[in-house]
Symmetry: C2
Subunit: 400 residues, 2 copies
């Protein structure tokens, strides 16, 4: 599913950000120059890739000078040599930026278990670094260079008062979130207070709603970098940041391998927000709900069964509504509340749906389920996609 | 994946068991007459189907006279009317058997959320009951009548001293174990001691290794019925029961919708058996491992990533071997230890595999992974299947 979009702002609109990148047949390399404050959220996978280990250590002091990313090789499960190579990548950029290698973040994405070709990385740095700039084209080049199986580049940004918050992400394969290597870099020239806390909170409501807890890849990384000190309204900024992360997250889901449509699952009436979150994710992750969605099949029993094994407390009399719409960035994760046509499937446990109506709605690019569990005020949302033939095709051939 | 087999014993070889069944376009109905002791294990899904609720209550006193099963309609999420109908089914059979309806077990499998057509059930009982018998054909008829999307009937049995232990199962869709309606009925004329305890222990090592904990369907049911009092060697009987359950469980996996091959994942060197169990299930359930298996793709990074998000403690230096073979019932779940050709992929974290060798092995009907986590003596096994195009085809069209 290829989303077409025009982002209001790009990362190169953020003061203090320069970038570029190059994609070749062998893989890509991208560089960002961005002096500022930094916070990061990393994969919880036991086998964290070398660049994740190195980057977490490097950003611990909260200060960053630049980012170097390669695509094609994840530098994961590569032992001590992998760590040495990740450190070497940081050193290569640090030499150019004339800064400490400890102030550089490193990411890799691609195949697991193969050592990096450091000579090639060195050559790529020589090619990419001279092209760094803050033109629109530079942002596109960076976004493109970090992609792997992505069908389109992922960029989104907004203005907030005089400042800008904008990001670039890569990732696909969200149907099996456990393996999606998700990288996201958000930049702003606003003066961000409590940057760590803010990033964690925002990620939990956006990127984490597209990946099952713990089922993260070896390389998943989200960084937030503040390059400036423009004063902005705090809650306005928080909303903008959440919007940027939401849109990027939905772009990743839409680019799920073989995905043909998005599914948003809104759960309310749970005993807690966390219960609602678990229920929403369980429905959005069910392979049988996903295949039913692909087939526009009104098989609501699969939603009931998924809720039933989610382990969350709920009333026996569930209410389920379904709605369908076109994709619009400002509606990612239900950010806005444009009225749309919906139809009830279950009303307090009683089937009230019209099969033809439901199927018509399920033919839309975005299908939304509104589920009321009827036992409290907890609410949350999860986003997923359908499961199509192409998913199997892509993933049965990935390394071959 | 269609397994061909000839079972050494059938349920009609068990003294005191008579059965029959009929499959029509609308659905099937099967009946077993089997006076004896009974134990049951049921789904943990929050939305337990009406027949599950009724049967658990009915077998609480440990005594059973008969079983009635319909296929095509799960009688799940059907409220009070559903319960009434499940009770009514028990009454219909009880009337024929001249026993209390409280001594009848009821099962249903099929679509969720639609009320049973009780008139049709009544007509089917009239047709099936007169055909009850203990010929081989009766066992086949019963096994056939309870199937839904099953590609083949599932029966397995063995002799133990003078007694017989034999079972019938149905189930498919194991690629998404969360929705598989699995029914299994095991009969024996041996005098079984601590029948409840024994069934729970056996199920945990067999049927439960093919369904993720908690991710059970609304209707899953396993019953063990002892119709006789033949004295048998206790540990010999336990092994035979485990063998029967293992073979039936593997038959269900092999019949996973669209499955083309079986995968057995053996994990050792874990801190506990439970840790090993979780690690094995995580690998066997990973959609990316499944698609790689379908494509005979030697992408071992996906196994590493799955182990990494399993949450289980392990050494950084994993050892992984792969072996391939034909399916043989006596080897289900590694019951026997026939020597087979295997090749190492990872040796204590170091890649030692030969890509062509690995791919050749992965072309077998049964592919086995032997994984050593290197931190303890815990071991376990899980069984799964690959994920193919046909899975998507079948499940995107199920109700339409």
């Amino acid at each position: 599913m290829k989303l077409s979009y025009t982002s209001p702002k790009l990362i190169t609109d953020v003061e203090g950000v320069e970038c570029s990148g190059l994609k070749t047949e062998k893989g890509g390399l991208g560089i960002v120059k961005c002096r500022g404050k930094v916070a990061g959220v990393f994969t919880k996978n036991k086998f964290r890739a070398a660049p994740v280990i190195v980057t977490e250590e490097n950003i611990a002091n909260g200060f960053l000078e630049g980012i170097i990313v390669n695509s094609g090789n994840a530098n994961a499960y590569t032992g001590k040599e992998g760590i040495k190579n990740a450190v070497k990548m940081a050193e290569m950029l640090a030499e150019k930026l004339e800064c400490s290698p400890k102030d550089v973040a490193v990411s890799s994405t691609g195949i697991i278990g193969v050592q990096l070709d450091m000579e090639w990385i060195g050559e790529m740095v020589e090619k990419v670094y001279p092209k760094l700039g803050n033109y629109d084209q530079c942002s596109w080049e960076f976004a493109k260079s970090i992609t792997t199986t992505d069908a389109f580049t992922k960029q989104w940004g907004l203005g907030v008062d005089d400042a800008v918050v904008a990001g670039v992400a890569k990732g696909a394969g969200m149907i099996a979130p456990n393996m999606a290597t998700m990288l996201a870099y958000i930049f702003t020239d606003a003066n961000v207070k409590r940057i760590d806390e803010l990033l964690k909170k925002t990620v939990s409501k956006t990127f984490n709603s597209i990946t099952v807890d713990g089922d993260t890849s070896t390389n998943d990384t989200v960084l937030l970098i503040s390059t400036g000190s423009k004063e902005v309204n705090e809650s306005k900024f928080e909303r903008a940041l959440r919007c940027v992360c939401s849109v990027l997250a939905e772009m990743i889901v839409a680019d799920g391998e073989g995905a043909t449509k998005l599914m948003r699952v809104f759960v309310r009436g749970a005993e807690s927000d966390n219960d609602a979150y678990i229920a929403a994710k369980t429905v959005a992750s069910s392979t049988l709900v996903k295949t039913a969605l692909f087939g526009c099949d009104a098989n609501w029993g699969r939603i009931i069964a998924a809720l039933g094994y989610s382990g969350v407390n709920m009333d026996d009399r569930i209410t389920i509504e379904v709605a369908g719409c076109e994709w619009r960035a400002d509606e990612a994760f239900g950010l806005s509340k444009r009225l749309r046509k919906s139809t009830k499937i279950l009303d307090k446990g009683r089937y009230v749906g019209n099969r033809e109506n439901i199927m018509k709605i399920m033919k839309n690019d975005v299908v939304e389920f509104y589920i009321d569990l009827g036992v409290g005020n907890g609410k949350s949302c999860a986003v997923g996609c359908d499961l199509s033939y192409s998913y199997v095709e892509l993933n049965s051939k990935y390394t071959t």
